[in-house]
């Protein structure tokens, strides 16, 4: 029998603050609903126990500054570790698909972590993806992010990565946090076209979102032919969501799941704790398990205005044109200290809403026809003068890009406060800090 794995980790003893949306209560009613329905008694459902990710696995994917010890990572490591448990079950053929119904979420956590953003600190999906690549040699992975917010963290992590196709459907960034995710964001120089952002108008609704999936997302997936598809299953497209206004129903989410056919769905946002989550989570799980979700109907009814289908179709046409005509957002900029090669330069600002500060970043990537290219990110949190550096040698790195990474690592030590080397190809993480010297992190 084709099994559907479920890892339900509601973290009932953890919150970001008593009245914070990311609080103990968030998955309480989901638990009530799932337990009462008896979904765990479905013969094809297999429940898994949570696990804790080793820090090294997180560091292989994200640079945590100024030092991992400065962050409270426990809950995040369990959410990520639980996602890994399910990912391993998938890779080892124990399940056909699965749902990591875990909190806290992760898709706003990017390549560098200076604090909590959009309730995320560690990026559960991204850590999983790199784990699947390093442990099982998986080559091509696609992420379809159906949270109403742009999956900016995941995009950031894989923007230069030709092995990962990132697709995000979200409410237009001009009307919603985090304000990014436009059709022109197509990927870095070595991964151009591997990023697809589809900003949708408020009121898109079930039919609208299904149309976008069928007419844009699925064809793009077919073209890429991923080995694994991961769905960042945020639930804030729901019509009852307090912040967004996309007007999608629980059954609409069931259909999204049926269309995307993810190998793994991972919970992201969604803070309509009562009116949406118990229903949406049930619909997604039933859809994954191949069961009828038609009876999953909310107690409340949608009341917000809906965009007409024809105007949605024409909006999608415009977006497609915008995507086709998009121009690169980097410049080629040599620096005397950069190793051999041509380096693209992208300056960025990243806002951390939880604590209210800006991160200033200078991203650089080495142009390479053979691999994803060495990535070098310089990060700062003004007014502090400390600089942090992240150097990434990508999976499948060519010898030149590998060498460039190690050259940068040696050059940077002593020149900044923290240097983190992610040698994804060599499966190791080196961490240098002013006060501590070099620490080796195991990534297995």
């Amino acid at each position: 029998m084709n099994k559907t794995g479920i890892l339900f980790f509601p973290a009932f003893d953890w919150s970001l603050g008593e009245t914070h949306p990311e609080r103990e209560e968030r998955l309480l009613y989901t638990q009530e609903q799932l337990f009462e329905e008896g979904v765990f008694d479905l013969p094809q459902i297999r429940q898994f126990a949570p696990g804790m990710a080793p820090l090294g696995k997180a560091l292989l994917t994200q640079g945590i500054f100024p030092h991992p010890a400065k962050h409270d990572l426990t809950a995040h490591l369990i959410a990520a570790g639980s996602t890994l448990v399910l990912g391993e079950a998938l890779a080892e053929g124990q399940i056909q698909n699965g749902f990591a119904l875990v909190r806290p979420p992760g898709h706003h956590a990017g390549a560098t972590v200076l604090g909590n953003r959009g309730f995320c600190t560690l990026n559960n999906e991204a850590i999983l993806i790199n784990h699947l690549r390093s442990k099982y040699g998986v080559k091509k992975i696609a992420v379809v992010d159906t949270d109403v917010h742009h999956g900016d963290g995941t995009q950031d992590i894989f923007y230069h990565d030709p092995g990962v196709l990132f697709i995000s459907l979200h409410q237009d960034g001009r009307t919603l946090y985090p304000g990014t995710g436009f059709a022109s964001e197509k990927g870095g120089p070595n991964a151009w076209g591997m990023n697809l952002d589809i900003p949708l108008p408020p009121g898109t609704g079930d039919d609208g979102i299904h149309y976008v999936l069928e007419n844009w997302v699925l064809p793009r997936l077919d073209e890429f032919k991923p080995d694994i598809v991961i769905n960042s299953a945020g639930q804030d497209n729901h019509f009852s969501d307090p912040l967004a206004s996309m007007n999608v129903t629980a059954r609409g989410y069931g259909r999204i799941t049926e269309l995307v056919k993810p190998d793994l769905a991972v919970l992201e946002g969604g803070y309509s704790i009562e009116a949406a989550l118990p229903y949406v989570n049930l619909a997604i799980l039933l859809a994954l398990a191949g069961e009828d979700y038609d009876g999953v109907v909310e107690a409340e009814k949608p009341t917000r205005p809906q965009v007409s289908f024809t105007s949605l179709v024409s909006r999608v046409k415009e977006l497609k044109a915008e995507y086709a005509q998009a121009q690169p957002n980097w410049v080629w900029r040599p620096e005397p200290y950069l190793p051999d090669g041509t380096w693209a330069y992208i300056p960025r600002m990243i806002y951390y809403d939880t604590e209210g500060f800006q991160e200033v970043r200078f991203d650089r990537v080495r142009k390479c026809a053979h691999c994803g290219g060495t990535v070098f990110i310089e990060s700062r949190r003004p007014p502090s003068r400390g600089r942090y550096a992240l150097v990434r040698i990508p999976f499948g790195a060519c010898p030149q890009c590998s060498q460039a990474g190690y050259d940068l690592w040696e050059y940077l030590i002593g020149r900044v406060e923290t240097v983190q080397l992610q040698d994804q190809a060599g499966a190791q993480v080196l961490f240098w800090h002013l006060d501590e010297g070099v620490t080796h992190f195991s990534t297995s």
Binding site: P10, D13, E37, L286, D292, G295, V297
Partner: protein
């Protein structure tokens, strides 16, 4: 001096003991007559020689009465009415019994979303009036009725007015989540009620006629005991494996081990962690029925000391059934016991007959002692191998138990040093083989043949009171009794809720005649309920309980190590 009687009705034999403080005073074994369990119990009691001149303080029975009647479908018809509301389709799960659907929806917090339809009720009762085959047992179960029994109560009240003679059972009396299991549990319990009450009455009477007036209790599958008339019948299913675990606990204070209880055709496995039996996270499953009945984490393997040995295309194998006792004990056909007897690893049986039995399984030219020894060993290796695989699977299942809190992930059960405790007929014979397969120490107690009866005799009452409180809706419920009521206390209770749980527990215990000692508490879970960035109240969960355990330990030194390596 306290004298306790324990009787365990097994599939083949019924074992009984009288325990006097720390010693077994008397033992008895009678064949089980599955068609007359009452008579079986009485003859076991008679064999113990109970009468007024030698009074005992308490009798505890572990009986297969309800288990058998459910597995064989021998119960009166029950009409099941469901109020499933929305959500997952009923057909997604397999329903071993027919049901009728009624309208009415309650949500996960117990709020009424859609009221029931009285016209529908009227129609159903009209139909029943014209139906000569209608059952007088009616079960009504609503989805989320454990959060709000409103619809069940309304329908029941309507029904009682129309048909006062009908036996009604309502789902909320099983107050845990899981609509599917709650429905089947309510159904089975109602279906078993008449049979149980009749059995209880007759047992009381027959024991009384023998001049014995000790209270009679029954062992539940969660390891606790209750007076015959207090127990919910379905809670007595599969008490045999539970008795085996308790029997082991009476002989192994405070250790961690796997219990292997070898019966005639099945072997029961259980786990004890630092003196406490592992409790199953979900309810017991019986035949096609998944229930909410709390049970120990036990599993039965279809192989035992009397399993028939059958010839298959690729060799000999152990069947799931028994043809009778072992050949070496006068039975009709070879069994694993014959292999044990031939190898000299059990102290009973006719070795000449054991040799004959084994020889009958081999071609004539392979009757040399080396052939027979090889065959005997390979049969016992197969049996031990099957048990070892199940033991590993059970340990894995325990480690895979989900956790829902950070605390639980950071504090997993320590991986303790386990040993294996074997009881039952073939315990001594299988010890070395199991030890070789599992590579851990395997121990056998002094009384492997009556371990289950010992467990029954020494079982103590269990108790549990789980509170679910929603201060915003002003409602509380108690899982175990299904009681629901209004919360008059504060919106954000602290010490208050502790006192409330204790008072509720005392009330529940008193109603069941349980003396509350040795209670433990799970830490409360407080869920602040927030509306528009303002905390408006809390959902609180808490539990007070007495875990399963034994009231004393047998005085004994377990035999340690391998018998064969001694000789």
């Amino acid at each position: 001096m306290r004298r306790h009687v324990g009787i365990d009705v097994g599939g083949t034999f019924t074992d009984a003991v009288v325990i006097n403080e720390e010693e077994i005073e008397k033992k008895a074994k009678v064949p089980t007559d599955q068609d007359n369990l009452l008579q079986t119990l009485l003859s076991a009691l008679d064999r113990l020689g109970l009468d007024g001149g030698n009074p005992v303080d308490e009798i505890t029975v572990s009986t297969t009465l309800v288990t058998n009647s459910i597995l064989q479908g021998r119960f009166p018809p029950v009409e099941l009415y469901l109020l499933p509301g929305g959500g997952m389709k009923l057909e997604s799960l397999s329903w071993p019994v027919p049901y009728k659907i009624m309208s009415g929806t309650i949500d996960y917090r117990g709020r009424e979303i859609l009221p029931p339809d009285e016209l529908q009720w009227r129609r159903i009762l009209q139909e029943r009036r014209q139906n000569p085959l209608k059952s007088d047992h009616v079960a009504i179960v609503g989805k989320f009725s454990h959060r709000n029994k409103l619809h069940e109560d309304q329908l029941a009240a309507y029904w009682r007015l129309a048909e006062p003679e009908v036996h009604l059972a309502l789902g909320h009396e099983w107050g845990q989540a899981n609509f599917y299991r709650r429905s089947l549990t309510t159904y089975l319990n109602l279906a078993s009620q008449d049979l149980w009450l009749e059995f209880a009455r007759e047992l009381e009477r027959a024991v009384g006629e023998r001049g014995c007036h000790a209270p009679i209790k029954v062992l539940k599958t969660d390891g606790g005991v209750l007076p015959l008339d207090q127990v919910r019948p379905v809670e007595t299913i599969y008490s045999g494996p539970t008795a085996g675990v308790l029997g082991a606990m009476a002989q192994n204070p405070d250790a961690s081990y796997v219990v292997v209880d070898i019966g005639g055709t099945t072997t029961d496995l259980g786990i004890v962690l630092s003196g406490s039996p592992l409790v199953s996270a979900r309810g017991a499953k019986i035949g096609p029925y998944k229930t909410l009945v709390r049970s120990l984490a036990v599993r039965s393997v279809a192989v035992g000391a009397d399993s028939a040995i059958v010839r298959e295309a690729d060799g000999l194998s152990l069947a799931r059934y028994r043809l009778g006792p072992a050949y070496c004990l006068g039975g009709p056909a070879p069994t694993p016991t014959d292999a044990m007897c031939y190898l000299g690893v059990v102290p009973y049986g006719d070795r000449v007959r054991a040799e004959e039995a084994l020889a009958s399984l081999l071609p004539d030219e392979h009757h040399l002692p080396a052939d027979l020894t090889g065959l005997a060993e390979s049969l016992l290796e197969e049996m031990a191998g099957r048990l070892a695989a199940e033991i590993r699977a059970m340990e894995q299942e325990w480690q895979d138990e989900p956790a829902y809190k950070i605390w639980g992930v950071l504090h997993p059960h320590e991986a303790r040093q386990f040993y294996v405790w074997v009881s039952g007929g073939g315990a001594r014979g299988l010890r070395d083989f199991l030890q070789k397969q599992l590579r851990v120490e395997v121990r056998v107690g002094r009384f492997p043949e009556v371990s289950n009866a010992v467990g029954a005799a020494l079982a103590r009452p269990t108790f549990s009171c789980t509170l679910h409180l929603d201060t915003v809706l002003g409602r509380f419920s108690l899982e175990e009794s299904g009681e629901q009521g209004k919360w008059q206390g504060s919106i954000r209770p602290h010490a208050e809720v502790d006192a409330f749980l204790e008072k509720s527990a005392e009330r529940l215990a008193a109603a069941k005649g349980i003396d509350l000692t040795g209670t433990e508490k799970e830490p409360f879970d407080f869920f602040p309920i927030v509306q528009g960035y303002r905390t408006v109240g809390q959902i609180v969960r808490g539990r007070l309980y007495v875990p399963p355990g034994v009231r004393g330990h047998l005085n004994q030194r377990p035999e340690v190590g391998s018998r064969r390596s001694e000789t």
